[in-house]
Symmetry: D3
Subunit: 221 residues, 6 copies
């Protein structure tokens, strides 16, 4: 199985679905992470070019710790992501090339604009990839069966799937802490542990859970 | 596997998910249908008591044709369904007693009030059934893994699952036609064939499809 | 009376409101169709320039069959429509020039992005055309009295008008079949017949109906 | 033509669509007003029975001034309106008995609960009246062609019809002032004049306008 | 200052706004807690009457620990709360009697029905309390200036106020743990600590925060 | 205290919150107005460059009458505002430079596109200004405590704050009338007086009120 994870910035993949990624790896699935931007706006003083380099390295380190190494950096300008032809085409191409059975990206209700734009780009690319259209995206039409949206800045209002990540919460947080440039100023690891604990208790599905909104599912039973 | 289908009136089960029911039967699953009302308001002249009797018989005939015989008639007043303690409790009890892995009921955006109320009752009963609460509903807590909402009067705006029923569309329509008292005045069979064909073509998932909104899913892959 | 039909791609006009167009023609009204794109992305192998030519010809053939010949091709890139100044201005100009009493365009809830963008462009152009603003759009201010949104990929959740097209469904489908390049891979004619039949039965307004969301109406009685 | 106006309390009819009522009268149409409650909660000291009597008389006086005398008082408890079988049935019966071509009631987004409940009751009754159902509501099925929702406490977000009432705004306000028991403490006449003036200027449809959300329309052109 | 906290069940007050309550107490404000139900459905075996007694005692203990003792138990049936005249009237009376400057209750998007109904009852009571209406609710009209909605089962999508409770998070959790009958089976304290930590980090307003949706505010600056 | 008012066009500031501006001035607060466009599309014949000059002068005159002179003209093309990097960055810079305690801009539901885009730009800039991000916007991170959205073309559905402007409604209207180029064709002053009167009566907060949606509040009591 091939899983595709699309993140607005490095670290959103780990925050939103790091535990689920670890489960894919453990099951022997291939995981590919696509970063729409390299998060170079995430500092008040570090030169952007330098921060981009650092954050891409941190993403690589986190991925390596989690057990995959297929990372794609689209290098849009952080904070200024837009649903332009290039981005829609890139994602559509990727979907037709990687032919993933499952895809993860931010949910539509995220307060952060880069997250919402990532959602729209992915939703649009999924529709395009599946039909006899858009020859600028080579490869056979491909329909991604399982489409899951994760939460980062804004919790999902109506969750439709909970993944119990109790068995790997510590490794998830360790991977998150690879993003040293970001955790230096904001303790995202504690925020994520908090949210995953809250979700686990309130859904009753495990000690720590990652929750998702299911946009599409390929097989129900 | 146990499937539970909740219908506001007899025939809504066949219209909304008759093909999916047939697939469950074919797979050897148990199917139980619960009718919130017996549809006795569906005529301008037939005495209600008589029409109730007729429609329950028609439901039995349709079920029998489809291959199941576990029908439960809650006999609320047709057209006047309400989310009262009796109904919420009945459904919660049923869920704890039948322990279904999958449940089908109308989606939240249906234009017909009885359908929306059925949705609310089911959504509420699902939450209650799963925790250490409500002792008036005997049995162990039970969490229904797969929750699918079907469409009858109002098409679903954002579908999240399509079941290809091309292999059994004719049998589904034959079952629907058992509801003679209703099809005498309104050709629901042609409406359903039309919608299922439209869904099949536009999703690209088969000749005829039943479409659903997934409220919850137990396992993604 | 002048009717203006705005379509994201050739064939959307026939799918969404082909029967209503036929009624306008029959009533002696003028009909103008505007195509935001020429649908040149609708193939995996045909060169885009060639497909554009073919699809514009198919649109002309369908229009001719329906009885009008005023077609305007705005030739935006198919799949990459955007609500930019050019498009908003073009539509506003057109409205002031044609002074239509009725306009048709896709509803706001369509799943396909080109359709949603077409909706936004039209909604915005309607507001601009009516006031003493935007001199780059020559002509007198013009307020379109009747604004109807049609359905193609996503059914309208709350319909506010149903047009009985039973008397011309076959001609509508014949016109749709002029779009040979598209129907070769996807049987849109059967999808449309299905949806129009479903709408007819469920609204009780005729055998086959086209349904609309009314954004504005000029006279109620 | 028969117009039916449904009001949660006496005075809501005049506030929401008094000018439109005057236009119906002027056109020789029949107008019937239905009051869900008699507004007897509208005071801190007057005995409810007495206030009910006063307000029904005020409604009669306003109607008489406007030129109609068909008033129906359903006398639900003011402030405690509920969508129960009695109310749904009463409205459905009325629709089948009066066979109106047009109906007016509050829009769904009103902040006041009695208004929202009135909306739901009317919307439900309209669906029931039109089909071969609900024999407890005698008469032939009847489909109301034109369904308009008016605004009182909460302005409509997306208006779809504006009626220019410049020619009768003063008479509308005079009719509103017949509701002396209410205007003694709150100057609704000035509020209404303000809203109607705002609507007139911002829509550009006249000096004073009443604005509506069109739920259904029978004929577009 | 008088603060009024309305909770569907004992413990919702502490979960949703326990830290804010502690701040009111510390500021010398009066705090009144109203429990719509006494949570007697919260067990699979304990007799309801007994559990009601226990949970009311737990609520008293938690309040006492937090520093207030004005508790009102409305004793609706747990799980079956409805927006009936009694409840709307009770709350309206309370508001006119207590004349609070600030009120807390669950937000409208809560997944649990008792929470949503509590929201509706409170929203309605607030509107009634403020005008010259409803003499069955004695006292002068009273307008509650500050209306805040808290989160329990479903996080708020768009928060509009964050209260930094870092200085009292441990005392809040200690108060929550007074609800022994509930925490025996579900570790709500860990869920709440998690959510409050997540909120604190993501809003940047403090280590632990309680977040609210502001429905009304009396003074902005 | 520093107040920041963001307006799509000159005159929207006065229409939406002119009374509130006057209260800030009276309290000795600093007021800065930012105009996203200079409204040069607001005529059918006047050359745009000339109208821009005129409208900026009218804005200056109105501000001067109200008692402030800090006006910033961003000079985007009127009618074609877009949420591009320049605009988001400009606003973020302004927020970090001016460090306002309160900000006013149009609410998200406005029918006019320039107003909605202004809303999005401001909402996004507020999020960016507050964290250790976006060094292209110099200055310390700044979190605007009080965020209020005003109404112009589309009334707010759920208002959360009403400012009583009865004491300065005439001065507000006088300031509005400085926008002679606009009021020559449309009597906005009468529209605004109407809406503010309606709001005052219906909220019961004063003779004339400006109503707002509160997106964020810094201190509740």
């Amino acid at each position: 199985m091939q899983a595709l994870v699309v993140a607005p910035h490095p670290d959103d993949d780990v925050i939103g679905c790091g535990g689920s990624i670890l489960h894919h790896i453990r099951s022997g699935h291939r995981v590919t992470a696509v970063y729409m931007t390299s998060g170079e706006a995430g500092s008040l003083d570090q030169p952007k070019e330098e921060l981009r380099r650092i954050r891409e390295a941190e993403a690589g380190e986190a991925a390596s710790l989690m057990g995959f190494d297929d990372l794609i950096f689209l290098r849009n300008a952080d904070g200024y992501l837009s649903i332009n032809p290039e981005n829609v085409t890139s994602l559509t191409r990727l979907i037709r090339a990687k032919r993933p059975e499952i895809i993860y990206f931010p949910h539509a209700g995220e307060g952060c604009r880069d997250h919402r734009i990532t959602h729209e780009i992915c939703a649009e690319a999924l529709k395009r990839a599946r039909g006899p259209w858009f020859q600028e995206c080579p490869g056979e039409p491909w329909s991604v069966e399982n489409v899951l949206c994760y939460e980062v800045w804004t919790p999902i209002a109506e969750i439709s799937y909970a993944e119990d990540i109790s068995d790997c919460i510590e490794l998830k947080l360790k991977a998150l802490r690879c993003h040293r440039s970001q955790l230096a100023s904001i303790p995202y690891d504690e925020a994520v542990r908090g949210l995953n604990r809250y979700r686990g208790v309130m859904t009753g599905r495990g000690n720590h859970c990652e929750c998702f909104q299911v946009l599409n599912i390929g097989k129900v039973y």
